[in-house]
Amino acid sequence: MGLLAQGIATGILIGGLYALMSLGISLSWGALKIINLAHFSFILLSAYLVYQITISFGVDPLLTTGVVLPLFFVFGALMQMFFHRFKVDEFKSLIVTFGVFIILQSMMQSIWSADFRTIAPDLNIYRSSSIRIAGVALPIPSLMAFLAAVLIAVAMSVLLSRTYFGKAVRAVAQDAEMARAFGVDTKRVAVLLSGLSAVFSALAGVFIAVGQQIFPGLAVSWFGIVFPVVILGGLGHTVGTLTAGVIVGVAYGVAAVMWAPLAAPLVTFLILIAALLFRPHGLLTSRSVA
């Protein structure tokens, strides 16, 4: 019983990280019609940068966010300008961003080698610390990731449903042409949103650098987690993405504990396929961004 409780608890927390990793992709896909595979390398690149800055200057890894996040906002924004310039559509974006993904991957490998990188414990006080609630231990890194994910998901859904920017984004998501016709500066909206998406991915990278060992091969292994979460959550649906992340995390955790770790991916994808068949627009169905 304690085992199951622990499995569920850690599942929920890791789900937060999954959601954080998926948010950027979900938003740019849902709102900008860009399936941005480059986000996978964004997450890893930000993890490497955090690692590098931390060990070079001996600072607390969390402080690096001050540098890393703005940097990735710029990356994201530039990327969107590029897409805008070349009128990249959904299908093209898949190919183009996959190209970018490959390039970034091999660049990271040539810079940091294929070997594993770890922030040494003396610089990283978070990795293996945890707090206990009712006999269930909550690891700090995933706890931080989870809280960040909740914060962002809520903030974003408020931003998207209450502000002018949000209205503009929703308008663009539904029909960019129409939005333009109604005087929305679609390009500016898209660039901003793309920047934000990149920031979320970068933030996920921060927690990954804090929580685990990083190596180039990591990025590919995320495909199998992030896509289910994105689809399950509903494209561009922030709260949905968070929910989906938690569901996948828990399903994964429980399947691993109760059945076998080998079965975990199977369960995850069966959930995904079920979702694709019966709820192709996400759990908390809402075709548009919210």
């Binding site: 091999s106 490998q109 040539s110 694709l276």
Partner: protein
């Protein structure tokens, strides 16, 4: 069609010629690797290029083929030649099974369909890991698997089998392209419900396309299990196969049966030469940039440009080929080929407007009447 037969015969004779001409035996090995990719890309193109349903499922069909042969020969003592048809058959069954569910649901189009096919591959991988009867994590050795004598020694056998399957796959793609089926699929790609309204049996046609794709991908996978040598889940079900066929078809040109053939030859030759030069990292970066540039700049793929500028293509290619061969710049026919090919691609990449200016007149260059419609995208249709 006669051209097809001629090419087929020529290819079947090649190994003998290679031997006679004292060319390095690697030439044969190089060729059968090309055949593998041509078959994979062509079969993928029948579904995605023709009907417009973007599929990541290639890895799944390929993997089913590999494991069908590996399990049947390795765990149940079947002979390779008996197991091989099962590779195609099981992949076909799996493909049609997926189609039966997915194509019934109107909303499962576009990227949602693409991701469903992606998910299938992951599920199969997880299954293979979980079920000891398939793999269970120990992997399966294929290195000892005996191949029937009549096929010759290993590389000759691989050459003959891959060539045969490749020819069949390309033939299937060609016949589809030049028949009602093909045009039905093009209509589905352009506007599925209108296609239905015009009396095109949408569901059946999509099933056929998916079936062709899965069958040949699986069959070739069955042969390839010999090449892999030691079959494990991580090697078989990785995203490499689907991504390469996409790259190849996009580069060559979706929608025409020749597109993937051209694309596969170019991409494989390139990465082979770069790898043999020990430049894998460069290789990765170049392939990445190729993807970006081609998706943005060359609309209908290289094959479209080749048709528009067929004269330039021929002159450049054979010109360079002859030069490199005469002055023996590389000492390897494959490298001569690679260089000639790349130069041609470079020339073809010159944007239309600029090209027009080079040739002393504005406007897009056409060395034959301006083809449009399927023609434009694909060159001479049926």
């Amino acid at each position: 069609m006669t051209g097809f037969v001629v090419v087929a015969i020529a290819l079947f004779l090649t190994p003998a010629i290679v031997k006679a001409a004292d060319m390095p035996p690697f030439f044969v090995i190089f060729l059968f690797s090309v055949f593998f990719w041509v078959a994979q890309a062509s079969s993928w193109n029948v579904l995605t290029g023709f009907s417009g349903y973007f599929s990541f499922g290639q890895g799944a069909w390929f993997g089913i083929g590999v494991y069908a042969v590996a399990v049947l020969t390795g765990k149940h003592g079947w002979s390779f030649i008996a197991a091989l048809p099962m590779a195609g058959f099981l992949a076909l069954v799996a493909g049609l099974g997926l189609g039966l569910v997915v194509f019934r649901l109107r909303r499962l189009t576009g990227e949602i369909f693409a991701l469903t096919t992606l998910a299938i591959a992951f599920v199969l991988a997880a299954l293979a890991r979980l079920v000891p009867a398939i793999d269970g994590g120990t992997g399966i050795f294929m290195t000892g698997t005996p191949i029937p004598e009549f096929l010759g020694e290993f590389n000759t056998a691989m050459y003959r089998m891959t060539l045969t399957i490749m020819l069949l796959a390309v033939l299937a793609s060609y016949l589809t392209y030049s028949s009602r089926l093909g045009w039905g699929l093009f209509s589905i790609r352009d506007d599925e419900s209108v296609a239905g309204g015009l009396g095109i049996p949408v569901f059946r046609y999509k099933m056929i396309a998916l079936g062709i794709n899965a069958f040949f991908a699986g069959l070739m996978g069955g042969v390839w299990s010999l090449r892999i040598g030691f079959v494990t889940v991580d090697e078989v079900f990785n995203i490499r196969v689907p991504l390469f066929v996409i790259l190849m078809s996009v580069l060559g040109g979706l929608g025409h049966w020749m597109g993937p053939v051209v694309g596969a030859v170019i991409i494989f030759t390139l990465s082979d030469r770069l790898n043999s030069a020990g430049l894998t990292d460069v290789n990765q970066i170049i392939i990445g940039s190729l993807l970006v540039v081609l998706a943005l700049a060359v609309k209908d793929g290289i094959y479209g440009r080749m048709r528009d500028r067929w004269l330039t293509t021929l002159i450049t290619f054979f010109g360079v080929m002859v030069v490199t061969a005469i002055f023996d710049l590389t000492g390897s026919l494959i490298s001569d080929f690679a260089i000639a090919m790349v130069t041609t691609v470079v020339v073809l990449m010159v944007p239309d407007r600029l090209w027009g200016r080079i040739r002393g007149r504005g406007g897009p260059d056409r060395e034959e009447g301006p083809p449009v419609g399927i023609e434009a995208m694909t060159g001479s249709g049926p």
